[in-house]
Amino acid sequence: MSLILRAQVAAAAHDIVPAWPLDSFIAVNPLAGRESYPFETETTAEAATTRSGSAYLADYQRGRITRDDIDAALLERIPQLADRRLRIGTAAVSAVRVAELDMRLVAAAPAPEPVAVAELTWLDEYLAVWVAGYLCPDPAWPMPHHADGFYRAWRTLACLDPSLPRTVRRTLTTLSPEPDAALAHALQRLGITAADVPRALRTALGHLPGWVGHIKWRAEKVGDIDLTSYLAVRFTVQVALGITPAADQTTQTAQRDQTTLTSAPFWLRAERVAQALTAARPSREDVAAVARVLSTHPITDQRYTWQKAYELNYRTALIGALRSTVETRDGRNVQLVMCIDPRSEGLRRHLEESSSVETFGFAGFFGVPIRFAHYQARGAIDSLPALLSARHHITEIPVDHEQAHRVVAAGKFRDALRHAVHTADSTAATPFAFAETAGWFYGGISILRTLTPRIHARIVRALSLSPRDLRSDVTIADAFTLDERATLAETALRMMGLSQFAPLVVLAGHGSESENNLYQSALDCGACGGNPGHANARAAAAIFNDPEVRLLLADRGLPIPFDTFFVAAEHNTVSDMVTVLDRHLIPDSHTSSADRFEQLQRTVADKLVTERARHLPGASPRHSPARLRGRAHDWAEVYPELGLAGNATMIIGPRDITRNVDLGRRVFLHSYRTELDPTGAALETIMTAPLVVAQWINHQYYFTALNPDTLGAGTKTIHNAIGTLGVISGHSGDLRRGLPWQSVGLGTELFHEPMRLTVVVEAPLARIGEIISRNQVLRDLFDNDWITLTARDHPAALWHRYTAYGFTATATATPAATATPMEGPHT
């Protein structure tokens, strides 16, 4: 019995997306469990999947959606409308025109109510307190009996809970010590029949989705709590207190939505359209003809057509802007490899204005999945995509032992101060006098940080010697065998299509810098598990510079000239500065070109920071770059940068197609050249890893923008952190999911345009089709319209759109005259 129950719990939790902790923020598609179903059937009551009709109509009126876009979207969704014409009155009208007119007329009707935030029940709040108390990562008073597991600890303590009636406490002492048995018993006591158990479990798991998602993550990665014990507590309390589950609110709202939508007067629609088409009063035949067309496009589908039109407007302009000419280049002194992150696009574009620089896009972990710890550090980070688990541990070996000694001593001194202050602040009897004495210093710091954040940052930096300052080598040879290293290197080169090497190759990972920002990890590198990517860049550079690796690479047809040197760097996405790392490793022959690169980069960074200021709330291009960069150190700043807001597209192909095109920092750019990938393995890796990560990010932004209060984390201003595990809003409640409002909008307006990822690939169509057909994840995403794919074989070929039935050629792409979707996120 109990094993079946466990299986039922697992089955009920199947569609729940695990929620990573806040300190390694991983963007996920909150509806990932539904990816095996078509996007458009995803009419869940708890999530909006598109905006409201009136929002799209406003876009139409300001030209963000054109009639051509609507027509194209209609034809994509309802192919049978093509070439169908009907006669209304005296004029001949195309069916598409009829449907298009209908959309514009209907959308003017009032929008359905937005998805409401579910009120928490008493039971939800009760469980939220216990789960938070149990999982708290830095408890001042750890929950007693924590080692016994969640259910047992609760069972022991709840018997003493003064907030429960005495009779309830007494009955709790008779509970089974096993969560499985307790859950089974409670379900039985509630009179839930065996057939109803799955539904009851699913309903229970639908409450507190944030905590439930985190428990699912935790059960897999840590193992000190699982959903069975969570549900055991939940149902046991429900039975003990005699709580009857309130009528299922979510299904009620779903039904209400459904009825308002379907009961819209169909004939009225037809009549209105017919009237608009004829000057006179339409005849019954006219209305009937219109109605026949409209029946192919039910009103519930219209918002999907609108969304598609909204995306097509962008895609048409994008495809039109892509280039079809190949230029042969030489004389490049520097090659820069950056993360596919859209924020790299701006820097690459500006750097390439200098003919001496060529850039590439590759996943920011540079193909080296590692767990990294600084020299003698107490903790490590898993610097790798969430799709992988850490197997290779890397640390540092100092070059200069005297310096290493100083860095460690400084660290220990700092630790002593931290520990002393923390103890004084958190021990029961000491905070009173501590506040009286330390308060004066705190006040001073507060003034400094608020009025002159940049000076404060400078003082802090001057006072501390960070482990990042240590000159060291990464222990790459201990973590990977020679063969593994050569394979990693070969894979990376083939994936990004790099075979002609400049004398200096810069591998730039990226990290963000912000103060007082619980979501700082969401601004770091997604390919590095929400960490800054410097360690991976250093590891990759070490691999590429290894003479033994180069010998093996030459054997495999990828010779690297002996005068080519790889350096690691880090792109700071707030300041847009690229700092070259491990300078001590650069041979004298290359120092001058590294210096020149840094110099060039600095001027470019200023331009880019100013460019970005146009879209950054509270910033202006008139501000000095120093002031704009100061946001990184400002503890009051809730918009240190815009992160990946605006992301809309992933382009896989040679840089030739996008060079000198302003893509507005909205595009994941992965370099790829068919010639270097004879087997197609590299493309398969790109499409199953970087593309999937980009899709997770895209959908995280998409659904956060559409559901800022349910699938998003709401406003940052009332966030209340539970250690590094997550945040709640206010004093209690569910763990928040997704991104905060400040990642997608300002005031009441979105600056992130919610669009499903448009994937653009330049590679043989047959190869792409094959890869999709043998990977379920891609079939689900593309066939079910969660994201779209447009591809062409080579620069001279036509663009084709992928459908579940194969590729179809798109109409010759001409840049749309009206729209300017290459712009960055609109403000």
Binding site: W122, G379, G411, A416, S426, A429, T437, T450, A636, A721
Partner: protein, 508 residues
Amino acid sequence: MNENATVAMVLAGPWVAVLASAIAGRFGRSGDLVARIAAAVVGLGFVFTAAVAIALSTLWTGSIQVGFGETSLQLDALALIMSMLVLGLSSLIQGFAVRYLRGDPRQVWFVVTANLLTGFTVLMVCAGSVALFACAWVGAGAALVLLLATYWPLAQAREGVWRTAVRFGAADTAFLLAVAVLLVGAGGDVSFDQLGAGASGLSAPAQLTLAVMLVLAALARSSQIPFQGWLPFTLGAPTPVSALLHAGVVNAGAILLLRFAPAIAPHRSVMIVVCVVGAATLVFASAVRLARPDVKGRLVFSTMAQMGFMIMACGLGLFAAAIFHLVAHSLYKSTLFLGAGTGVRQHATDRDLPTRTAPSRLVAGLAVAISVTVTVAVLVAAKLVLSPAVSPSSIGLLAFVALTAGVTLAVALATHFSIRTMVVGTTVTAAVGIGYVAFLHLFTGALEPGVPVQGAPGWLLVLPAVGLIVVELLARSSTGAVWLRDRVYTSALAVSLPRNPIRTGAPL
């Protein structure tokens, strides 16, 4: 500049900001601009007040008093210190909020109500007579409730507003009754100088009742038992509101006790009640704080415990020490609230620090010996030289400082025993210890109420001390006193549990 103008300038800042922001907000000006102007205006008010304070303490002695009949405003030491604190912190927090609440649809609301609160608070601390104080007191309470309503659409925010309003309403009614009795008795407004005389005109039981009613209002405002049930529910308002609340409003209890000391302090029984309530809140809130998992929840209960400490000091008759604690704690807590989002960054920094090794027995012993010696030597020397007057209560408070300094220094040394730690740690301890004694001495000179004080006996300090030690031992206990530990932990956790809607259980 004449006295009227000076007082007006001190008081005017926030009111100008209220008017300007309300009007600008009404005419649809951007919240950003409104917030900037308001913060700047209040900042100017702070600068002016600081200038007045410096001028008063160097040029003249004594204070400025402006009267309209019996109703009066005064700029004495307390008024100046508190005005500077309130205006300074208010403008600082508003400056923070300019960026923090950027684009927020409720930004203008925040600016208006925050300045309303600031204005009433400054008026309250500068009030020289009972009626004016009472008006400002009630006004500040109402302004706080409005400020908490910043995110009115949120259910949590509404719950906080409601809970606060009910508790303030109940306690302030008692307070207003007491004030009414005083005013009727005197046939008009009573200046605080005349308060003692006015109150002593009443019968003994009436005096006691009056004192208790005044105390109730102070307890509610400072979230003391039995009025503790509002502060933890105010987190539905944005962070700057919490900073303002924890740095300003909750402190008002001590101000009331000090201003009304002529009517309260002569009654030893009332002072003992105040002291015991403060001590009880202190122990209770300390225990809850340890069990809270959320960073702001910890800050809330930390504040409650700190307010307990402050109220307890008032009960002991150490009004100056209470005000000293109030000012330092305001700076401390507002900083912690504004920085409530630093946890993730801090964790990342700590992760890169060198591995911590447990100190050897020798090092631990040395660390303790050194820290005890240094702390005791510093404090005793400072006390003897700078502030030789002693009382059991002041020695008790000094013991808290000694314990804290000793623990801090010992932990630092035990974590990393090096010359650098020793030099820095000892220097800081010495500076802080001497600074504390000297500053407190200054405060005492400036703030002692000129009325006979029948403070609670100093040995009462044993109660919170024992309570805190028990809580600390229980929190660290792994096998000892299991039942008591579980019981206290669960009770502490249950404070955050929602009130159970069903009072009867069903058999399992």
